[in-house]
Amino acid sequence: MASLTLSFFLSFLFLFSPALSTNSEGNALHALRSRLSDPTNVLQSWDPTLVNPCTWFHVTCDSNNHVIRLDLGNSNVSGTLGSELGELKHLKYLELYRNEITGKIPKELGKLKNLVSMDLYDNKFEGEIPKSFKKLKSLRFLRLNNNKLSGSIPRELVKLSNLKVFDVSNNDLCGTIPVDGPFATFPAESFENNRFSGPELQGLAPYDFGCGST
């Protein structure tokens, strides 16, 4: 009897739900959802059976239904990020600040060539700043402050000519601070409360000795 009722209920659920999204961006976001713990239900509209993720709350698409924004700052989520975020090829704004996200920053974020703003500040990220970020040629805002990042600032980031704001303060970074390119203009506060050994000295081989050994 109960089995009948339940099977009826389930067939009812499955019978008329349209085929699952084949949209790779939707799949990527759904994978993200499955990694995150969401005590305040901010992701409950993320229904993978919908045709695309454009009606999911905190997701914004452009007119071609490509995801261009993810606005999940201050949303009490925890968990980790995964490589699938690299599938959001059209993403411009990745706003995940002020949450409880842990683990490493996936190097696949370097695939987000259109990214203008990456705000991961005030989380519990650890590990290194991915070198792959050197490919984020459109990036203007990179705020990674108030995490537990370690290692050094990848020197390759000096090539990000559009970078206007860079903040890695309050982490556990070490090594030298790049001084070329956009780094010539970032204020001292962007680097404070780390274990930096000083600025990179121009004209000489970078001396990243001792980084992370204390």
């Binding site: 009826f8 509209s45 914004t60 606005d71 108030n146 001292a188």
Partner: protein, 1028 residues
């Protein structure tokens, strides 16, 4: 209980055959007895001449008569019908049936000891009192013999009676006291007799019958407590007690556990509650215990099953509230054949000790809270050798299917559906040669389907639906399944790969193949299946036309679902299906005219095809019982037939997205059960019929995107069930009637978008307490935005529970509601998550006056669009209260003042448009605000600072686009980080050289630390000074 009854019947049948053929009486009978019997016979109605042997002098040789050898007196009259209705041989009931009256001559059989008239249809008179004078009677069976009314109390005179059976639903007893006269009674059956007048005294009365061994009081309308204090229990010989199917509302009485002679106890379905006494397990002779269906009996499974249960064979505890785990000691209940715990709250896992239950035939714990994995191994040398039924469905079991399942060689039914089992289906399950039901649906099983299952030659029901199974399904999988009737393969990842001339060995009834890849062309093997009743080939990757032979086997189909394929071609007219069928042909490529079915049906869904032509004008007369009609998303032309109003049971009419013309027929108002009316996206014109106001059950009404004109009918006030009123994109005019704010307590969505409504916004709209989406955009509304718009109750709170809005559900099909909401500068169509959306869109009107600060009370608001009006005033600082806001469009108004800093804290904002207003001052380009570019702020002459190119007066140097959410934008020194290090380097002196300290520092950690500590301190102080 039922089993017992059937056993009794079987027993009496066997006995009769013995009397008939095995015990011929040689003695002559008493003449007085012969005459009495003949007179008795003359009162009977025996149309088939069953009593043809009742002639001649020796009545002892007549059918059903037995005499005593010494006295030649008749001692037994047995005229029971051996083929009662409901038995396997009930077709022979009529031949054996006797009716008529019972003549008093029967009382002349002074020696009569045994009288059986059961299962006949004697005149529905009361039981004749004359039975009370058959003084020597020891056995009286009047069960189901047609007598009704009150049982005569003079039966109590039968002091030698040992067996009395008066089972029948038409009998009743007012006072049971006469039973105490039956001092020799051993066996009393009163099943079905109405004892409701007796009250709870029946226990005390029957307690006076010390010889009683069997008492059957099932379905006796007994009620009230069975717990009266008995001075002592006299029933010391009682072995069978059946009190099932009564309404006691009582606990299980303690006196029962004192009857140590009990073998069978049945108090199932009797409204019992409270704890099951552990004392039951100590009854030394108890073999059969039935307590199922009481719903409220409690016990700890662990405690209860750890009892002694010395001889227990049957434990039926289904449908109660047992909790706790199964104890490992369950394996010690050696005699157990039947254990039923269906629908309780049993927790934990299945102990491996059940393997020792060598006699167990039936084991059911479905519908509980079992967790953990199935035991990998079972105890015992040959585990569960007798098991036929294993049902653990609807639990929370995880892990893999163990190999021992394939060794249960007597298994007939296996139910593991609706758990969370994973891993593959073991190939060894193909060894279950007696299996008729295989239920594995609703799990997370993966891998491919073992070919060995094709060996299950007895299989009737094959259910692996809703798993993660993959791979090919071939002819081998069904090789020997000649008896298959129910095939449930839906919702897996199967691909059928069978040859085009495959003729399956079965004639199946149910084909539930949703989401299996059956294509690319229509499966040819179906042609051999002449008995299919339920066919679900939806989403099965089938292309091309439906072959013509299909319509030769389709006349049995009660369900025809081929939706979500790529089927094409014209549909035959008429459509051939079974009466009252559900027909779902939606989401294909069918073209041509709309066919009607040959018989009346109840569900017709042809939506999302390319059907053309008009809706048949006689649709309402052909399908008067239609409940669900969807033709949306086709190329249908012409008018909506007036006959649509003849389908009075319609719950859903969806004709949206076609090319329908003409006006909306007022006859639709006759469909008084209508819950859904969707006529949107057509070319309908004329006025909205006033009669639609009669549809008091209507929950969702879409007529948007037509050419409807006139005003909103005032009769709509009566649509009190309405949750969605979508009238957008028409040519409706007039004022927004204030009465809209009066009824409609359930209205979630109101859209009057893109019409010609004029006048002011009624203040009372805010009384729509369920309203989540208000779209009045693109009209000619004027006046100001009422302050009361801050009071929409459903928007003042954050909606955090999604209610999937679907309506008109009929046998699993329903209408999914939807709405296009303009948000973030786009039109987004919301469906399943619609109930979470909150939006106020008043854009494109002539609204003026100040933006009311009260709007910031709408704490759950996600979309606010006031663009394209003449609204003045400023953005209140409290805008930061609108934490859910994801789209804010205030563009093209006359708003002024500064953009409040607090706006930058709205972290969910994904779209911001403040362009073309009179805002001034510096843009608070910090925090989340940095995610918006210049276009959000353009066209405000007084605005300055990033992201605009315009620099603010007094701002020197570069802008500081707000690092890490600080609100400080002061960076007037203009010094950058590298300068600090430059000064420091100078301070230390290049003269000292760089390589030297580097070299030294690289060698000595303590020096290095000191050096950098010094530098850090130096930099820190400089920064501190700078910020002073």
């Amino acid at each position: 209980m039922l089993q017992l009854m059937l056993l009794m019947i079987l027993f009496s049948v066997m006995r009769l055959e013995f009397v008939l053929f095995g015990d011929a009486q040689l003695v002559d009978c008493l003449e007085s007895n012969r005459e009495a019997l003949l007179t008795f016979r003359n009162g009977l109605n025996d149309p088939q001449n069953r009593l043809s042997s009742w002639k001649g002098s020796n009545c002892c040789r007549w059918l059903g008569i037995r005499c005593e050898n010494s006295t030649r007196a008749v001692i037994e009259v047995d005229l029971h019908n051996p083929h009662p209705q409901g038995s396997d041989s009930s077709s022979r009931y009529g031949f054996w049936n006797l009716s008529g009256e019972i003549r008093p001559s029967l009382t002349k059989l002074k020696s009569l000891r045994h009288l059986d008239l059961s299962f006949n249809t004697f005149d529905s008179n009361p039981i004749p009192e004359l039975f009370g004078s058959l003084k020597n009677l020891q056995y009286l069976n009047l069960s189901n013999s047609g007598f009704s009314g009150s049982i005569p109390p003079n039966l109590g005179n039968l002091s030698t009676l040992q067996y009395l059976d008066v089972e029948f639903l038409g009998l009743l007893v007012n006072d049971l006291e006469w039973v105490t006269g039956l001092v020799s009674l051993k066996h009393l059956v009163m099943n079905g007799v109405d004892l409701s007048m007796v009250g709870s005294n029946w226990i005390r009365t029957l307690n006076k019958l010390p010889s009683l061994t069997e008492l059957h009081l099932s379905s006796c309308v007994l009620s009230g407590s069975i717990n009266p204090p008995l001075p002592f229990v006299n029933l010391t010989s009682l072995s069978v007690l059946d009190l099932s199917l009564n309404q006691f509302n009582s606990k299980i009485p303690n006196w029962i556990i004192n009857i140590s002679s009990l073998i069978t106890l049945d108090i199932s379905y009797s409204g019992l509650f409270g704890r099951i006494p552990l004392g039951l397990s100590d009854l030394p002779n108890l073999q059969f215990l039935y307590l199922s269906g009481n719903d409220n009996l409690t016990a700890s499974c662990y405690q209860l099953l750890r009892g002694r249960w010395e001889k227990i064979q049957v434990l039926d505890l289904a449908s109660n509230k047992l909790h706790g785990e199964l104890p490992a000691s369950i394996g010690n209940m050696t005699f157990l054949t039947y254990l039923d715990l269906f629908v309780n709250n049993v927790e934990g896992g299945i102990p491996s000790s059940i393997g020792k239950l060598g006699n167990l035939i039936f084991f059911r714990i479905s519908g509980n809270n079992l967790t953990g994995t199935l035991p990998e191994f079972l105890e015992g040398t040959e585990p569960l050798p007798s098991l036929q039924d294993l049902d653990l469905s609807n639990n929370h079991l995880v892990g893999k299917l163990p190999e021992w399942l394939g060794q249960l060689e007597n298994l007939v039914h296996l139910g593991l559906d609706y758990n969370s089992l994973n891993g593959p289906i073991p190939a060894s399950m193909g060894l279950l040669q007696n299996l008729t039901d295989l239920g594995l649906g609703g799990n997370q099983l993966n891998g491919t389907l073992p070919e060995s299952l094709g060996q299950l030659s007895e299989l009737s029901s094959f259910d692996v639906s809703s798993n993660h199974l993959t791979g090919l399904v071939t002819e081998t999988h069904f090789l020997k399944q000649g008896k298959l009737k129910y095939l449930h393969f839906s919702s897996n990842n199967f691909t059928f790969n069978v040859s085009s001339n495959w003729v399956p060995p079965f004639q199946v009834w149910n084909l539930d193949m949703r989401s299996c890849r059956l294509g690319p062309s229509f499966p040819a093997w179906l042609e051999s299946q002449k008995e299919v009743k339920f066919l679900d080939f939806s989403n099965a990757s089938i292309s091309g036309p439906i072959p013509s032979w299909f319509w030769e086997i389709s006349s049995n189909l009660s369900l025809l679902n081929v939706s979500f394929n790529h089927l094409e071609g014209q549909l035959p007219s008429p459509l051939i299906v079974a009466p009252f069928a559900d027909v779902d042909l939606s989401s294909n490529l069918f073209k041509g005219p709309i066919p009607l079915p040959i018989v009346e049906i109840e569900l017709l869904d042809m939506s999302s095809n390319t059907l053309s032509g008009p809706i048949p004008s006689n649709i309402g007369d052909s399908l008067p019982n239609l409940v669900f009609l969807s033709l949306s998303g086709n190329h249908i032309i012409g008018e909506i037939p007036v006959s649509i109003g003849n389908m009075q049971y319609l719950g859903v009419i969806d004709l949206s997205n076609n090319n329908l013309t003409g006006s909306i027929p007022s006859s639709i108002a006759n469909c008084s059960y209508l819950k859904v009316l969707d006529l949107s996206k057509n070319n309908l014109s004329g006025h909205i019929p006033r009669s639609l106001g009669q549809l008091s059950m209507l929950q969702t009404l879409h007529v948007s995107d037509n050419n409807l004109s006139g005003e909103l009918p005032s009769t709509f006030l009566k649509l009190s069930s309405l949750e969605m009123l979508d009238l957008g994109i028409n040519r409706l005019k007039g004022k927004i009637p204030p009465w809209i704010g009066q009824g409609f307590q359930r209205l979630r969505i109101l859209s009057l978008r893109s019409n010609a409504f004029s006048g002011e916004l009624p203040t009372v709209l805010s009384k729509l307490s369920s309203l989540q989406v208000l779209d009045l955009a693109e009209n000619q509304l004027n006046g100001s935005v009422p302050a009361s718009f801050g009071n929409f109750k459903a928007i003042t709170e954050f909606q955090d529970i999604n209610h999937y809005l679907f309506y008109g559900t009929y046998r699993g099909t329903y209408y999914e509601d939807h709405m296009v909401v303009n948000t973030k500068g786009q039109s987004l169509r919301y469906t399943k998550t619609l109930s979470l959306v909150t939006s106020l869109d008043l854009s494109g009107n002539n609204l003026s006056g100040d933006l009311p600060g009260e709007m910031t009370r709408l704490l759950g608001l996600m979309v606010l669009n006031l663009s394209g009006n003449h609204i003045s005033g400023h953005i209140p600082k409290t805008v930061s209260e609108l934490k859910q806001l994801s789209s804010l469009d205030l563009s093209r108004n006359r708003l002024s003042g500064v953009i409040p800093q607090s706006l930058a804290s709205l972290s969910f904002l994904g779209y911001l448009n403040l362009s073309d207003n009179d805002f001034s001052g510096k843009i608070p380009f910090t925090d989340h605000m940095t995610t918006f570019d210049a276009s959000s702020f353009a066209g405000n002459l007084g605005l300055c600072g990033s992201p605009l190119a315009v620099k603010c007066a007094g701002d020197g140097g570069d802008d500081d686009p707000g690092n890490r959410g600080t609100t400080t934008t002061d960076n007037s020194s203009g010094e950058s980080f590298i300068d600090n290090w430059f000064y420091m380097s100078v301070g230390l002196g290049f003269a000292a050289g760089i390589l030297v300290p580097c070299f030294i520092l690289s060698l000595r950690k303590s020096w290095r630390d000191a050096y950098f500590q010094f530098i850090d301190e130096f930099v820190r102080r400089r920064s501190w000074l700078k910020h002073r």
